[in-house]
């Protein structure tokens, strides 16, 4: 088992012919992800040449692609001005899971996208996220396959490379993962920490969870309350941005401390109060996870 993606994932790639889309489609195919189609308006009927002589059919619209391939998941690499529309097109076409990699989607666009996707009953991960990987099963997005291995730990994070750092530390210590999810660093994203915690709690193969948060907002505090009230599995946490000055946006659009809310110190304290083991530095995660497995 895993969460959100596994061997049954039948994936579309929106923006398959773009620079990032084509590169990562090849990487996903090499990992064994079942990429069943691509979408690029105006290129319907063509095929995308994958590794080892594989070919992926391209469609003009997501609706056409779903009808022809039975895809249940889509990953979006289209540029920011078109990303909101691409997400809503996918939700309308009836896939179950949308993973939006695109960075730089205007937040006001997301205020419209979120209710649209929700009303369609579709799960959105991202935007501005590295996607997901269920080691040995499926990879959707851009996470490097070389650093993961199958095992009992669920990983959920707001960031990309910081996730890689933690997964790398775990893998080096021989601790594998069920699924690694990057939910994205934007202020409004489709999937929250709590959504992932709930899925990991229900996943029989996941024995413990690592959660990496950062400054800004209150999602981590809500996640901590959820862990205390609803999780039987141990959770280890980390918060990035302890040295970040207030009022400055630290790269991620969501990483800004406004007023007294959203500081790292506050989040770390709430983690500790709710029974989440706190890693003071990334490499501490190994010992903390070993202690609970």
């Amino acid at each position: 088992m895993a969460i959100l993606i596994d061997q049954s994932t039948r994936l579309l790639v929106q923006g398959i012919t773009g620079r990032d889309g084509s590169f990562h489609t090849r990487q996903m195919l090499e990992y064994g992800t079942r990429v069943v189609g691509g979408v690029t308006p105006g290129k319907g009927g063509q095929t995308f040449d994958g590794p080892g002589g594989s070919a992926v059919p391209i469609f003009n619209t997501v609706a056409d692609a779903v009808a022809a391939t039975g895809a249940n998941t889509t990953v979006i690499y289209v540029p920011p001005p078109f990303a909101a529309d691409a997400i809503m097109e996918a939700a309308d076409a009836g896939v179950a899971l949308i993973v939006a990699i695109t960075e730089g989607v205007p937040v006001l666009d997301m205020t419209r996208v979120y209710p649209y996707v929700r009303e369609k009953g579709v799960r959105l991960v991202g935007p501005n996220c590295p996607g997901l990987i269920s080691p040995g099963k499926s990879k959707v997005g851009i996470m490097p396959a070389s650093i993961v291995r199958p095992g009992p730990v669920g990983v959920v994070s707001r960031s990309g490379t910081l996730t890689y750092e933690f997964v790398y530390l775990l893998t080096q210590a021989g601790i594998g993962q069920t699924t690694c999810v990057g939910i994205g660093g934007d202020p409004i994203n489709g999937t929250s920490f709590i959504d992932c915690l709930q899925a990991f709690e229900q996943d029989p193969e996941t024995e413990a969870v690592v959660l990496m948060g950062e400054i800004g907002g209150t999602d981590e505090q809500q996640a901590a309350a959820y862990v205390k009230a609803n999780m039987s599995k141990p959770v280890v946490g980390f918060i990035a941005g302890q040295t970040a000055p207030p009022g400055r946006r630290m790269g991620h659009a969501g990483a800004i401390i406004s007023g007294s809310a959203g500081t790292a110190a506050e989040k770390i304290q709430v983690f500790a109060e709710n029974g989440i083991g706190v890693a003071c530095k990334p490499s501490d995660v190994v010992g903390l996870i070993q202690a609970v497995l």
Binding site: V107, L108, T111, P115, P144, S159, E165, M250
Partner: protein, 379 residues
Amino acid sequence: MNIHEYQARQLLRAHGIPVPPGEVATTPAEAERIAAGFGGTVVIKAQVHAGGRGKAGGVKLAGSPAEARLKAEAILGMMIKGLTVRQVLVAPAEDIASEAYVGIIVDRASKRPVFMVSREGGVDIEEVAARNPGAIRRLAVDPRFGLLSFQAYQLATALYDDLKQQRACARILQQLYAAFVAAGASLAEINPLVTNGTGEVKALDAKMNIDDNELDRRPDIAALRDTSAEPPAETLAREAGLTFIKLDGDIGNVVNGAGLAMATMDLIKYYGGEPANFLDIGGSSNPEKVVNALRIITTDPNVKVICFNIFGGITRCDDVANGIVEATRRIHIPVPLVIRLTGTNEAEALRILAGAGLSATTSMDEVVQQAVALAKNQG
């Protein structure tokens, strides 16, 4: 992106909001001339991207044009929260009967634009929220419908008892919402929204923050950026496609990804050092980005060592290694470099560095400890 008060006032005025007149001066003589034009008492307000201007002495009343010159002289050039004041807004002083607060932010929790209004205006809204949270009325807007008339009226009744003022306020709230959306803002505030002696409702001060992700499709808004109001290194970084924030420490760092960059700063602090900056080179980095990153960091005289922490995913380690080698050839780097490279094309990267007499580690803990030790040795 931050814009100045006078720019936000212009945007609000363009949407029909009653904003008293005001003009910008960059010299005391200009302030005097503007004050003479208005006649009577004027207020001189520092235009900087910082809150608490009043407390810092950046807002002063002047009873005559000559006094306006003196007050402008005092304010122009002063430092407020590390920023130099280069412009002042000169506006006629208003006769104020009441001060309210109205604002919109994009709220992460409800994932919607949320209005906040309060009868307690003229002070920091965070202060009101902490001291008297019941004094703030909130309303989440469905962005597909905008602020509906009845909602605007509901909010207005929370601020005013007089029907005429309620109606004027409701209209302003809808205009504010329109301005917020049109500018691609993440925050828009009128603080204070005042009533004057004759009962008119007016926007006395305005603040807007723009979502950086909106700027590509709104060139008119992007043109409002005042690069003189931000540290030169940050302007340079933005133009080079890097995210850079200067800090006060002595350990420079170059990292890919915002989360890892924050964690690197934190680890520097954990091992007893002080980070000199936040710098994210982003994904798909080409060697040129690395050269620019080093160029920017080496302009900071406090920096004693530069620490690279790269975890290759989209970013290829060999690109970064090429950038480092290229930079050492093209620019003078007066401080030691310590390098960590892991991930995509790591072996190739290590070979490139070795060819130039540089070495690297694959551990984040190790590279940060090296950096802290080097910074200390150079005390």
